[in-house]
Symmetry: C2
Subunit: 153 residues, 2 copies
């Protein structure tokens, strides 16, 4: 249940290179491939590792615009939150959505081709979602740090 130094090293390396061969992982850590394999299987079984994914370059895919949108909901209808959440999960442009405590209700992160695509997204998707009362958009001018690995050390 507790992670030792080797577990953390496995997680750390896998976070950077999720497709590394077990053999290479083993020799970088200094154990046999079998042991590493067993540990890794345990880490997955116990839920530390949820899966693996390719890191794609959004700009290369024509998604040049990153925006954050603060969303305020109309709170007169009680099931608006539930319905908004469901709608957000269906929108492919939305990469993240979080309910926050503070001046607004939701923070949405979305990637789009350009401002034209964003205007369409705002009008046809976001503002059409159930109970949305107000939005504030922040366009990203420069990505200083992107998807850093979780600190496991």
């Amino acid at each position: 249940m507790e992670l030792d130094r080797i577990d953390r090293k496995i997680l750390s390396i896998l976070q950077e290179d999720g497709r590394i061969a077990n053999v290479e992982l083993a020799e970088r850590i200094g154990l046999s491939p079998t042991s590493i394999g067993e540990r890794l299987k345990r880490l997955q079984r116990e839920g530390f590792v949820e899966g693996y994914g390719a890191r794609l370059n959004p700009h290369r895919l024509g998604l040049g615009l990153l925006v954050f949108v603060e969303v305020l909901l109309d709170k007169t209808t009680p099931d608006n939150f539930e319905r908004f959440a469901r709608a957000v999960k269906l929108a492919p442009e939305v990469l993240e959505c979080h309910m926050v405590a503070g001046g607004f209700d939701y923070l949405v992160k979305a990637r789009l081709a350009d401002m034209t695509a964003y205007r369409r997204f705002l009008g046809e998707t976001l503002l059409s979602m159930p109970g949305v009362r107000e939005t504030r958009t922040y366009a990203v001018m420069e990505e200083i740090k992107r998807d850093a690995p979780l600190p496991v050390g």
Copy 2:
């Protein structure tokens, strides 16, 4: 240079399961493993795929608190932006940092163990960074959507 239907399918599948065997990927798409391998190598060479990573469960790692922090910089010193960017890259708690257009300068996304850890982070890391004038913190109460795949279709 242009992506066809098969390329997109490869990217789409790999985004969800970055460790899928080439053989299985091939039969899910309906081509030979060799062809898929060649395409994949091309997609990496041309920068569509930047790498692979394990998806870790932050809560399982003791990082139960997700926060977004809006940061305003003191703009009297011109190189503050540069220095702030450098400092942010060194902080392991910071998963993302974006320079935005609008009411503030940077949006920081960070994961921490709890509010106690956040207070320390705010005081010792964020507010100690060069040129930081003001911050507004939004704690996430519920993650509606987390790290969705990029739309490649």
